[in-house]
Structure formats: C-alpha cells, structure tokens
Amino acid sequence: MQRIGVFVCWCGSNIAGTVDVKAVAEALKSEPGVVYSTDYQYMCSQAGQDLIVQAVKDNNLTGLVICSCSPRMHEATFRKTAATAGLNPYMVEIANIREQCSWVHKEMPIGTEKAIILGKAAVAKVNLNTPLTPGESPVTKRALVIGGGIAGIQTALDIADAGFPVDIVETKPTIGGKMAQLDKTFPTLDCAACILTPKMVDVAQHEKIRIFSYSEVAEVKGFVGNFDVTIKKKARFVDETKCTGCGDCVDKCPMKKNPNEFNMGMDNRPAIYIPFAQAVPKVATIDAGACTMLKKGKCGLCSKVCGAGAIDYTQKDEFISEKYGAIVVATGFNVISMDKFDEYAYNQSKDVITSLEFERLTNAAGPTAGKLLRPSDGKHPHKIVFVQCVGSRCENCAEKGKEYCSKICCMYTAKHAMLTRDKYPDTDVTVFYIDVRTPGKNFDEFYRRAVEEFGVKYVKGMVGKIVPEGEVLKVQASDLINNKQMHIDADLVVLAAAIEPDKSARPLATMLTASMDTNDFFTEAHPKLRPVESPTAGVFLSGACQGPKDIPETVSQAGAAASKVIGLLCKDKLLGNPCIAGSNELMCNGCSSCERVCPYGAITYLDKEFRMPDRTTKIRRVASVNPAVCQGCGACTVACPSGAMDLRGFANDQIMAEVDAICK
C-alpha cells in the first residue's frame, strides 16, 4: 500500500481564484492511500518544494500527487523534488487543476468539484505507480556513414573532426558521388571539383576516417549505440594497399570499349579503370564483366605492367564486421530513366540528353574536354532547347515519372543556359518551364540574370513532342503566354530529368528498420523538429536520401546529422525513457501484432523455454522490447490481444483506475 502525500497549489490566485484549494486538500485526505494532504501558495517555489521534501520525510511518503499546473510545465520540477526527498522520480503524478480546470471554468463550486475529481484520478494512478529506472546501454563510439557523396563526406568529416572514428561505405570505386560529376555549382558558379576534391582529400587523409569503397552494407543488427554491421567489400581485383594509382594498367588494358559510367556512358573506359583523376581512393578497379582475364583467363596485361604488383585476379568478396554507435544514411539520388518518355525521343536521338549528361559535356574533364559538342556528330550546337519538369510533378504516370518536384532542376537549368550563352554567345537557348521555382539565397537573382543579362529565352509552356529529322530535332511546344504553338529546329535538347532515391535505399531501409515514404525517400522522425533523424533511434539522415536537395542544403543537413551523431557518441551510456513497453512473456502469444505496429522496430522475438502447468516444458516465441529503442508510444499495447504488452508509467490498470476515479 502506498503512503501518498497530496499537495494542492494555489498558484497565487491562478488556481485559488476558482478552486477552493483547502476543500480540495481536505477532500483528497480520505482517498485510499492518502496519508497527508496540504495546500500552499506556490508549490513550485523553493519553499514549496522544501515543504514537499519535509512532508515526505515526516510521513514516510511513497508517492506524491501534486495538484497544480500542467505536467508539461512542472512535472520535471516535481520529479526532481521527489528525487531530492529520496523518492523515485516516477512516483509523482500531477493533477492539472490550472490549465485544465481553474483557467477554463469560472464558478468556484464547479472548479472545486472538478479539481477534486482530477485529484482523485491522480491519487488512483499513483496507487498503482511503480518506481521506474531508465535503462542504460553503452555506446560504441564509432559512426558509420553509408554513401560517400557530398552528404556522406561532410557528415564523416564533421564527426571525425569531433574526434570520433567514422567509416564510410561507398558502392562505387571512389567517393565523390554526383557532385564529382558536376561542372559548376549554382548560384555562385564555382567549380564543383574545386570545392569537392579538397574535401575528398581531407577524408582520405583524416586519421579518424576509413573508406570502404566499392563496398556495400550486407547486414545490420542491434540498436542505437550498439549496431553490428557487416560490410561487404566487393572484389576489385586490385590490392588497395599496393596500388599507387599510377594508371599504367589503365593505359595498357586492351579492352577499351566499355561505357564510362562517370561520363554517363558518353565515352569509353578500359576494363581496368580509375573513375577520374581525383578519385579517392585513387586505386584501379577491374570491371569483372569486361576483363578477358577474369572471364576467359587470357590477357593478364595489367598484372604485367603493374610495378607495384597490386593486381590480384583471385581476390574474393570480403566481409567485415564492425560495431557502430550511430549510422548515417547518405545514399543520395539518381536521375530517373528516360526510357518511357517517347515524346522526347531520348532513345531515338543521341542529341537528346539529360542535364547530368550535359554537365559532363561541359566539364573540362568530360568526354569533349569541356567543349560543347553534339554527341551525334561532334558539331557545335547553335540552337539548344532545355525542357524542365521531365518526369517531375507527374501525377498519373507513376510508371514513368514522380509526383514530387525534384527541386534542383530550375536552378541547374538556369545555370546550364547561362553558361552556354556566356561561352557561346552565338547559341540560341530556349528554356521551356511550367513554373520557375527559385527559393533560396541569390537563386532568383541568378535566374533573372540568365534571362536579363545572358538572353536566355524562357518560355512558359511545355514541349509536347520532339522528332529527330535529319540533323535537327523538330521540337513542338506550347507558348502559353503568347497563346501559340512553337516549332523549333533544335540542335540539342537537354531534359531536366526528375531525380529519385538510389535503388539501394529500399533494401537498406529494411535492414535498418527505418521507414520510407512511397517514393522510397527515408522518412524523418519528425518533419519539422527532427529532420535529420530517422524514427529508428541511432539512424540519421543526410542529403538527398531524405528528399530532393541541392548542395548547400545537403551540406547543412549533413552537418546537422553529424551534430546529432556527435551528441549521441559523446555519451558513455544511453539513458532510456523509462516509460516504455514491456511484454509479459507468460502471456505473450508471439503473434507479431505488436511488432507490426512498432514504428521503431523495437520489438523482436525470442524462442524461450517455458514450464507448462503440467510440468512439461515448451518452447514458445515471445516478444521482447529493446528498452534502448522503444519510445513509449503504446501502439503495441493495444495491438496485443492478450494484454501481455503493457506500457510502464501509463499501464492498463493505471489508466483504468483514472477512468474509474473520474466516473465515480
């Protein structure tokens, strides 16, 4: 039986003006378990708290009911008071007689009556309270960043700079991601390589960062602070520790006709390759599908020319297990496939290209060494048409495009148009747009400069069809402002294709039990207040895996994710919220209903041996809640038909006792 003390606060006249606090204190005296009841002007004041502490000592109280303002206001205060008095902080309940009583009712008798009932409900609950202690779990002080694009790089650097070891897992042979493929960046037009490659070098040289390039995450187990991750290092048939990146093998390789992914397939690379000059790690990789040595056992030239003896045709996929305290997802984006957009003739003409291909065409390290030449005949195009929103904002064509706005296209199209006009003033550039969306620092100014200073023609309307005819592309489009149809004979058409999350994101989300939206973007724990955390504790989001983003936004989110990770890794132990779910194994059926509604993946199942009533044993599947992951929402408690799952601090019997007290 509890020994409960009731403390009714006047809150000056805030409560006492509408509630007869003395009557409340008196009425609650006779409630079961109550051994002490009093009132005071300001319970939250130091004097008020001292009064509570003294009362606990004098009366050997085991539970406290404070009739005062909202628990959202002072619950934490009174829990600390309880702790000072030597009580478990969770033996305190607040009856909210200010915000939800004295402030919303006018007449004293009514307010008093309600305050008494609210007090009774709190007493009934405290009678069933049990001391709660937050669970503790150790934190492995190492972070994993999945994805080595600008998002992953920035997050890794920020975490590593704070002194924590970080591993980056990147599926490609080099880190750098999409940004490495870009030419210039809006709206300042600085060269992407100039700002990215130093960061890549920083990563490579940082003593706290390890890079697992050409690698994938194979398995994730565990929970916040204690993830066990298996990383699959794909065989690259080159010993990374020996390769110096000299490039001799690349020059000598006879299998030169393989589409170069880095240049969007617009030129070729050999079977052994280094994606680009500033690759990190600068190590060659053999494309097993193209290498005749690996396919047929003939050739071996690279091995012969390699002075470092780094080539190893027998290399196998390698699995590495590592423990991490936090995981950052930075899997980024890809451009969607243009295969289904027949109207734009992407598959019919080499001169219809996506914007990312255009980036490579204008990049000094690209297939044309930075000269803007048509892919079909290498001639300089004089009429270029840019089409925006290709596959974005597409509601009814889920198999073709995406319903969302890809966000970055307006700005990079303005950039492409402006740069083209700047470098080749003899080129006529037309941009077809539905809306031009330029919210961002110096963004709209940038777009207006493209129009006003560089003479880019912006036409409000959409391209309906493109037909390749001889050397030209017949572009038919609408001009909605002038209410006419336009027919342009273009030399080059650039499609601002929608972007989508990388295909690796979905299986990764399953491994991490992180949730995704229907478009396969990772969902954040709270769209406004927790934008870089996934609902799964210990999993953080960085960059375009969470939604379309430009570079500045990505970098700031990367930093934010890093700061969240640092905040986590700083701790030696994680203190959980003690108000979490727990399963009574004797009653659990193992039916998985709770697991299915848990937004955090906190519930797992164990096969456990039970002694049956007839003294035999039986192995049963029972639910087990991970206290470090559970956030205490209680969804599982209702999904559980047998009532095996209950929530500490808001237990079934406690809430029913409150109901009973209110309805008495």
Binding site: S70, P71, R72, M73, N96, R98, E99, Q100, C101, W103, V104, H105, K106, I110, G111, E113, K114, I117, L118, A121, S515, T523, A525, H526, P527, P535, C579, V597, P599, Q631, G632, C633, G634, A635, T637, V638, A639, L647, F650, N652, I655, M656, E658, V659, D660, I662, C663, K664
Partner: protein
C-alpha cells in the same frame, strides 16, 4: 426531492504531445468549456485501448472523446493512423449494437489549437447532453 440538472460525464483522452498541449493552450487563453469534461493524459492516442472506452461507459460516462495529433503530425510518426483505424472500427461496432454514435468521437487537435479544443468540447458536451444519460452501455451496478 430536488430535481438535479442533468450534467453529462465526459471522459477525454488526450495525447501528451498535441491535444493535451492544446487543452493547456485553451487554459492559457482562458477559453471556457464545460467542467463535465475530464481529461486523461496518454502518451499517444494509439495508447487508448478500446477497453478503456468501454470501461468509461461502464462506469457511467455519457460520452468519450479521443484527441490526438493531426494525421501526419504524430510525435511517434504513425500512432494516430492506427488510432484512426481502431476507433473507426470500434465506433462502427458500437453503432451497430445500437449505441448512439454521438457518444463517441475522435478529434485531431494540435498543440496550437486551443480554440479548437474548447470549441470541440463545447460542441461535444452539447451533443451528448442532447442525448441524455447513457443507458445502453452502462453497468447498473455502478449506479447504485
């Protein structure tokens, strides 16, 4: 014998993050609503077990209202979506058994919607008062 004015008994379950805060805001703004409404704080609307609602009716509640964050705003991301289904099904069943449907309600009230909280409670109390005492889902033993 003195004729007592009929006062309905209303139990309101409010989620800690939105609706309970919304109710606090109604208080901060001194927005009146009937004292017949008694609030029980739960972490999330998805914590509310149908058994709690039936228990309230058993013990003499005339109406039960459940308030949670707006869909999409749940502090726990998905709790109120489950609530929405659970309560839709439960209320439909109560209706099917002939319990007046006005006695049960789910309302989404954000932490900023103090005015909505007060208005909802005024409206709900009025609707329940119009029905009178809950006779169909009560336990007579509790009325002795």
């Amino acid at each position: 014998m003195q004729v007592k004015e009929y006062k309905p008994l209303i139990v309101a379950f409010c989620c800690n993050w939105c609706s309970y805060a919304g109710a606090d805001l109604a208080g901060n703004n001194r927005l009146n609503y009937p004292a017949d409404v008694k609030i029980i704080r739960v972490p999330c609307s998805c914590r509310v077990n149908p058994m709690f609602i039936l228990r309230a009716f058993q013990r003499g509640a005339d109406g039960v209202i459940l308030c949670g964050c707006h869909p999409g705003d749940c502090h726990y991301t998905s709790g109120n979506y489950y609530t929405r289904r659970r309560m839709a099904m439960l209320f439909s069943m109560l209706d099917y058994l002939g319990i007046e449907r006005e006695r049960t309600r789910v309302e989404w009230v954000s932490a900023a919607e103090g005015a909505k909280f007060a208005a909802t409670m005024n409206e709900f109390v009025e609707a329940v008062s119009a029905l009178g005492e809950n006779k169909r889902l009560e336990d007579l033993r509790c009325k002795r």
